[in-house]
Symmetry: C2
Subunit: 373 residues, 2 copies
Amino acid sequence: MSKKTKVKNSQKNRLSAEQKLAHLGKMLTAQIEKKNNPFFEVAIRALSNVTFNKEKSLIELGSEKQKRYFFNVGMAKKFMQTLLVGEACLMLQKEKKTTSLRDLYYIIKHTLGDSDENTVDEQEESDECIEDLEVGLDELRENLNLFASNRGSMVGEITIEDAGDTIDLRRLGTGGWSIPSIVESSLIKFKKVSAKYILMVEKDAIWRRLNEDKYWRQHKCILMHGQGMAPRGVRRLLYRLANELRLPVYILTDNDPWGFYIYSVIKQGSINLAYESMRMAVTHARFLGLSSHDPGKFKLSSNVMIKLNQQDISRAKQILQYPWFQKKKWQEELRVMLKNNVKLELEALSSKGISFIGEDYIPKKIRDKEWLE
Amino acid sequence: MSKKTKVKNSQKNRLSAEQKLAHLGKMLTAQIEKKNNPFFEVAIRALSNVTFNKEKSLIELGSEKQKRYFFNVGMAKKFMQTLLVGEACLMLQKEKKTTSLRDLYYIIKHTLGDSDENTVDEQEESDECIEDLEVGLDELRENLNLFASNRGSMVGEITIEDAGDTIDLRRLGTGGWSIPSIVESSLIKFKKVSAKYILMVEKDAIWRRLNEDKYWRQHKCILMHGQGMAPRGVRRLLYRLANELRLPVYILTDNDPWGFYIYSVIKQGSINLAYESMRMAVTHARFLGLSSHDPGKFKLSSNVMIKLNQQDISRAKQILQYPWFQKKKWQEELRVMLKNNVKLELEALSSKGISFIGEDYIPKKIRDKEWLE
């Protein structure tokens, strides 16, 4: 085993993103010097190459790969674009700066020589190259110093360090800490932790209610929201908190197929980002609610329920088929929703009193272990 | 002048939202006791009752009012809904709690007696009642303890107090402080201020770039973003910062009609929320860029420019007609955009270098007073 392979295999001494990018460049230069047709390999990111790993409870990318050649009419442009993106990422590494996907698109965009041809015309082109590099280099885009738009806030029983600043999330008022898009351990470190679990809610309005009532202080937890479908930064942070601090994670969403899907993406990853499930998916996350059984259990009035529309129904039927929704309780959950033909928003609990959600609903669910996994 | 009128007219001793709500209830009870048809007055919120006050540079609601009666087939339901909303708001005041518009909708929703009739069927109905109460009571919805969804973050040379917690915005890492929806002085107080101006950017990606480079530390400012069109919380906070601390405000948006419009809403309010311009509009805000003259001035390559589409063109022509865009320089700005037939995103500046925006563009614009008002 060469020294390099050893380094690569050791988790602690794994190559940095910068080293990997430089390595890619050297490899291509060597191919050119040998007068070979330069190429690099990229895993195929299509449903055909995605599987659900039941044991690990993860949506994973398979091992099918594609070689991308320079001397190939169909691949030359993409080859060039990927190298431009790689070059820009290497520059970011060297300058120790981060940037957005949109920014990167503009950084690499220029007209080729005297032609009318641009390196990239649409952002989708550079975005695809980024995904290729992520898979090819086995590196999160966040480690390539690229960020997505940030959404979501956090408060609770933890002190963190963010880019050298120590922030006590117990003392951030009504606003809370804005969860950034890049939350890797080089930037965000966990310090004094007094939380016993993490509560992740779909909606910022519910987050605000629970924060106003200082739910997290009374119940010793960390309170997060992702403003709908949790963005990458929120998922990755949740993953790090859950695994590094070994904390249970409870998810609270609307009772509709989209809410269930938000939960499932947090728990086992998504098809689109299957290649990153192992760094994002919180496999021990628990679905606290809203459950299709809640209206009966909590005696909710029928006029806070909303009739399913055609989209809801077909989405629910689709989810029923997903391998990661095959557990008996989930099948039942979905069937009851379809049978009753209604969905329920988190705000519907307010018809029982404005603080009912934090004073009764959540504590009861956790105490009685009434969650789905 | 009665004692009550005196109190109402004095800014310092003005009635609280709770007192105003209670007063509305008492007024109606008195009407009922006198066996009159109960009514209250609401200002008409339509374009016909909106004017642009050139002197104050504000979009204002006129004085036309409508009486809403209980014994009137067309008004009875709205009358009942408004009182339900008022009652819920009074409850919020008494419990010292805040809630979302969605939540409020569920709080007041119930079936009437044995009928199939609900108090409200859609959230639009309760939202309209909230606007009526805001205008009728001359009180921001935030003071009625209602919040919208929150967006936007802030860092910079200021220490604030948020619900009793002291937060130093110089030490919030890469994430920053999540700007809440309710930022009234009862919750958010300004403490140690070392900022000389406020820089408000349209996009969170640009905010992140400037925060990473610690632009705000070097240039002694407060850095905010509103993630696109600034939500009410961001606008209100900007208003308070600008007026209470007497700080200049610079706005940075994309160079397109939507960017111009974002600026204009911050500066003189919007038609929809005309009744709140005086508590939201930052009349001395300055538009720093991107200007239609920037491509030439900063030698930007033509391939970072984007051709206007039909929507852009018709929006630009519409804005050309607005009374608040009649200043010579604004007319020129819009005409140049239409003539060149291109728009420009903030990220386009990255083609000149990733930190060009903070190291060159903004400092030059401020130094040379190259802004539009």
